[in-house]
């Protein structure tokens, strides 16, 4: 991969990283309402996958969706404002971290229900296939979601009807406070095989690998609609949600994660491709400035008016 491409991917990952680190602080300061699930350590997956996508393609996500959302190109200011529950948020402050969506970018929403993105995205893929423009749908889900029955239903229908859907599993080994291996007697490669769905595995912390594989899969899908599964092994660095002290996790395991830090790996890759420390610093500064601006705007933005509670429940008033 060429340096400029690596740099672009690096920058996008850094936006996600810094955004989440900023949110982490804001949460500690009591400024983020509700649950906050951070994807620190997992940034390479959505950044790599999104390289293959346009605004016509749809994605849907889960509870750990900040990376998926930002990588799909949604507005950073609207994103921050939403997570802080402000009126200027992408969802007018009504959804928050677990429900960020931007339909104009094909981002059909984070989701608070494990596995729920699967049928929604399968249906989106059906719609895209009917519309015949070669667009594809991507669903992000975790390894814990492999236990939900709806996965089975969707793999079956996607395979049966040859739908242009990319099933992207972020396998971080954890399902909340439990190692997922204690919850599964199967694995995604075996399931994909059972349904005759093309399966690929990548190191989900190497953004170039994710990007290359996704590009190949999506390209094939645009030509001949058919589902594919992409399993990305990745690393959840923080707790299940902010406030989770991860007592259940080995300290050494967490410490070792930095070895596999996707941003560190991408910085190394850039250096190998001729990138300079100055270049990295420049990116970092630009990202910091962007994050700071979005944070400030969100902090200063007004709260939604409680008079608006009944707004948008329905499109129009019936009866």
């Amino acid at each position: 991969m060429k340096l400029d491409e690596l740099a672009r991917l690096h920058r996008q990952m850094l936006v996600i990283r810094r955004a989440e680190e900023r949110l982490q602080k804001l949460f500690a300061d009591g400024l983020v309402p509700g649950f906050l699930h951070l994807s620190i350590g997992q940034e390479a997956v959505p950044v790599g996958v999104s390289e293959a996508l346009t605004d016509c393609d749809t994605v849907s996500s889960n509870h750990r969706g900040h990376g998926h959302t930002l990588a799909k190109g949604v507005d950073l200011k609207g994103f921050f404002a939403e997570i802080l529950g402000k009126a200027t948020g992408l969802c007018k402050g009504r959804g928050g971290s677990m429900h960020v969506a931007d339909l104009s970018k094909g981002m059909l929403g984070a989701n608070g229900i494990v596995g729920a993105g699967l049928p929604i995205t399968t249906g989106s893929a059906l719609a895209l296939k009917m519309q015949g423009q070669g667009a594809v749908a991507v669903v992000y889900f975790g390894d814990g979601a492999l236990a939900e029955g709806v996965l089975h239903e969707c793999l079956n229908i996607a395979a049966l009807w040859k739908l242009p859907i990319l099933f992207v599993c972020e396998n971080n080994g954890w399902s909340e406070f439990s190692p997922t291996e204690r919850q599964l007697a199967t694995s995604l490669d075996k399931l994909a095989k059972a349904f005759g769905i093309k399966y690929s595995a990548v190191d989900g912390n190497v953004v170039a690998d994710v990007a290359t594989t996704s590009a190949r899969l999506v390209k094939a899908m645009r030509k001949n609609a058919a589902p594919a599964v992409l399993e990305c092994s990745t690393t959840r660095v923080r707790g299940h949600f902010e406030g989770d002290r991860q007592d259940y996790r080995d300290g050494d395991e967490i410490a070792a994660l930095s070895e596999r830090d996707p941003i560190r790996l991408s910085a190394t890759a850039m250096a190998q491709a001729g990138g300079t420390p100055e270049m990295l610093a420049e990116i970092a500064d630009a990202v910091d400035a962007e994050i700071e601006a979005a944070t400030q705007a969100a902090l200063e933005a007004p709260l939604p008016s409680s008079a608006d509670i009944l707004t948008d429940v329905y499109t129009s008033v019936a009866g």
Partner: protein, 327 residues
């Protein structure tokens, strides 16, 4: 098409909607070649092809969720769930996803999907194939619920539901599927029925019976019985359950001062409770007597003819309730 059966009116509404709008498509179990368990989709596969009529695997959660995703992607899916009892498998997708998407996404889009499903008894189909669960959906902000009582309404409410930008549950009473009624021959004469508006089926001055679905005919029979005694009962067909036509009911109550609510669903915690509760608030000053409900007893719908007949509400119970409130 005079003498059109209820099920045929549903079929016609689907055909007309598909004709009018290429984004409308159907998905459900055995709805294609077989034309649906109750034949609501008969010939639609032939007419519109497999790219508009999807015969699905037995995967209620997935097909309902797929409708949500397709609706968010510009289509107007109409899902058939073969028996309302099976919507128990679709609840997450209906309640957590379809109902909430618009609001929790800050009004960015909407979910123009329809879920059609038959409720009710009369087929001796037993406890897992006879339930009337509309009260659940009426309790969920973001969903609309309609329940037609005759062929013309089955047509008009379904067309309106498909046009509606938000998710609508269309509850069809399976015992009414064979009911006959008029439907105009010319497509342009077939009318949509506004969601949220009820209809006075029979005017009266002495008491009001509010009902929907199969209970409307029972209410009419009860009104006839009462008329023989010189008591004029007004019968309202709600047509829509969520939202329901509060002002129509209130207006009727201000004239009749007595109210009975009747439906086939279990009485306790049913749709009738909400109607009574609203009237016990905004209509309180109008009431001359207790507001009574007629609904199924608190038991699963039994199999077997005698038991099911005894279980299902009927006109006699409405008459008895009317006599009691008027007493």
């Amino acid at each position: 098409m005079p003498e059109t059966r209820y099920i045929k009116a549903v079929n016609q509404a689907l055909a007309d909607a598909m004709e009018a709008d290429p984004t409308v498509f159907l998905i459900g179990e055995d709805i294609g070649a077989a034309g649906g368990s109750f034949k609501a989709t008969r010939n639609l596969l032939e007419k519109f092809g497999p790219e508009r009529v999807y015969d699905s695997p037995i995967s209620e959660a997935a097909i309902t969720g797929m409708a949500v995703g397709a609706a968010l992607t510009g289509m107007r899916p109409v899902v058939e769930i073969m028996f309302m009892d099976f919507t128990t498998l679709s609840m997450d997708m209906l309640v957590n996803q379809a109902a909430k998407a618009r609001s929790m996404f800050g009004g960015q889009g909407s979910v123009p999907m329809v879920l059609r499903t038959p409720h009710g008894g009369g087929l001796n189909a037993g406890p897992q194939h006879s339930q009337c669960l509309e009260a659940w959906f009426a309790h969920v902000p973001g969903l609309r619920v309609v329940c037609p009582s005759n062929p013309a309404d089955a047509y008009g409410l379904l067309r309106a539901a498909i046009d509606d930008p938000d998710p609508v549950i269309v509850v069809e009473n399976k015992a009414l599927y064979a009911m006959k009624g008029d439907l105009p021959d010319a497509p342009e004469d077939r009318e949509r029925i506004e969601i949220g508006k009820g209809r006075i089926v029979r005017p009266g001055r002495d008491a009001t019976v509010v009902s929907y679905g199969a209970a409307v005919a029972m209410a009419e029979t009860a009104a006839e019985t009462m008329a023989e005694e010189g008591i004029e009962v007004e019968v309202i067909d709600l047509r829509s359950i969520q939202p329901w036509d509060e002002s129509l009911v209130l207006e009727s109550l201000t004239r009749t001062h007595n109210l009975v609510v009747a439906h086939e669903a279990v009485e306790a915690f049913g749709v009738g409770a909400e109607i009574v509760a609203r009237m016990a608030d905004i209509g309180f000053d109008q009431l001359d007597g207790p507001i009574l409900r007629v609904g199924a007893p608190f038991a699963p719908s039994p199999f077997g003819k005698t038991l099911e007949d005894a279980y299902r509400p009927d006109a006699n119970q409405i008459v008895a309730a009317l006599r009691r409130t008027l007493a």
